[in-house]
Symmetry: C2
Amino acid sequence: MNEYESLRAAAAPVVRAAIRGGDYGGQTAGLGGRNLQVNVAIMAAEYALDFMRFCQRNPKPCPLVGVSDTGDPFMRALGRDIDIRADVPAYHIYRDGRLDGSAHDITEVWRDDFVAFALGCSFTFEHALQDAGVSLWHIEHNKVVPMYRTNIPTQTAGPFGGSMVVSMRAIPEHQVELATNISRRYRFAHGAPVHCGDPAAIGIDDLGAPDWGDAAPVAPGSTPVFWACGVTPQVAIERAGLPLCITHKPGHMLITDVDGDAEIPAVD
Amino acid sequence: MNEYESLRAAAAPVVRAAIRGGDYGGQTAGLGGRNLQVNVAIMAAEYALDFMRFCQRNPKPCPLVGVSDTGDPFMRALGRDIDIRADVPAYHIYRDGRLDGSAHDITEVWRDDFVAFALGCSFTFEHALQDAGVSLWHIEHNKVVPMYRTNIPTQTAGPFGGSMVVSMRAIPEHQVELATNISRRYRFAHGAPVHCGDPAAIGIDDLGAPDWGDAAPVAPGSTPVFWACGVTPQVAIERAGLPLCITHKPGHMLITDVDGDAEIPAVD
């Protein structure tokens, strides 16, 4: 049994302990039960106010669910003993806006002026769609959802801006309204779709050539449905060209102790 | 016909123009149709990151719906030509944490390092409750909803903290679940109640003596239901003791161009 399979039934703190201990560094889909999983961005405090503004102004791609105190590496509202320096399976380190390497632990890179941000991800609404009988091809085929750059502008804040990234799921036409209404409820998970139908209308030339993730078919009788995507802030971070910024590696999320259905993103 | 009555049927920009022009300085309940109305807090940028953290950590009392750029007095996402220095009917000016006066216009007080925050208010969910057949005593009797300090702590951020303020509406017992489910949908308007029933359980000794607003009866067969209240950030601001901070005068809100039912707090 590989490490991923051995963690499938484990509670979130057990998974985080395996990650912190160096025993697991893989992707997190399907781990930690239905707890809220989050995208991570870490940067110096001098940029944090503008980044918070960027998230506030673009709540669909960037649903802000947690912010650390300056210099404090613990995400206290999101769970017990969550150390943002060690509890994410894999990190991406950006210098001057370019990806400059990966790491399994950033304790040596952490600084007293850092602020850590947690942003919701799509797993929560995908679970809800599946519960409602909407099948999701990429999950059933163990692929990464296809993601695309669009021509939809974000609302800028300081150095942060750029176009929105979306994920695509092909939905049977008779379930598009259902999928829309369900996902609208999950505001920590990108909410309702930003577009349904013609990819060219939002600047996507070729559905078969996603910018991230794996291509997925759109079966006859299905419609491509596009949701705002958590890669959007990574594009904004690249564009901003900060001297140093750290994110999770896509798909390798922080697993919190917060229930995925919670009204507010905090443990009791 | 008084000025309030003459504005009852006016669109939000018309009401704001009357306010900016000095023709109206009263409370805003029932004005601007069903547009989103917001609480306002203005402070120096050096405190803004902590205040945003305070709002993020306390989303029920402090549902953040807009943040200006530093020094920019226009709330660009919330409508066309919204000047936060002149478009609120009445302002409260706090110095060193104490209320130091009121104003109808703060253009002379505005500074290049100011950041303006907009926080959702309860009007939106009150409309939805009334639409669902839940009668609200304070509205029918033209009173201000009763508000109370509680023993429910907020999550602190920098100098901001203190206990939560709640508003109370007496709801017939058979409608409590309905009212809870409806209000839960309105996250820009304090969401689901924070408590139902015994006031002493949240530190309220005497329902008949609210800390703000007017006392309201709890009829036999009704339950007092408590929602997080937008006065909470004003208490946090007093406690923080900032040298200078400006808020709206309670009840005298900024009327935005955003639909009260919008998924995200922004005009298209």
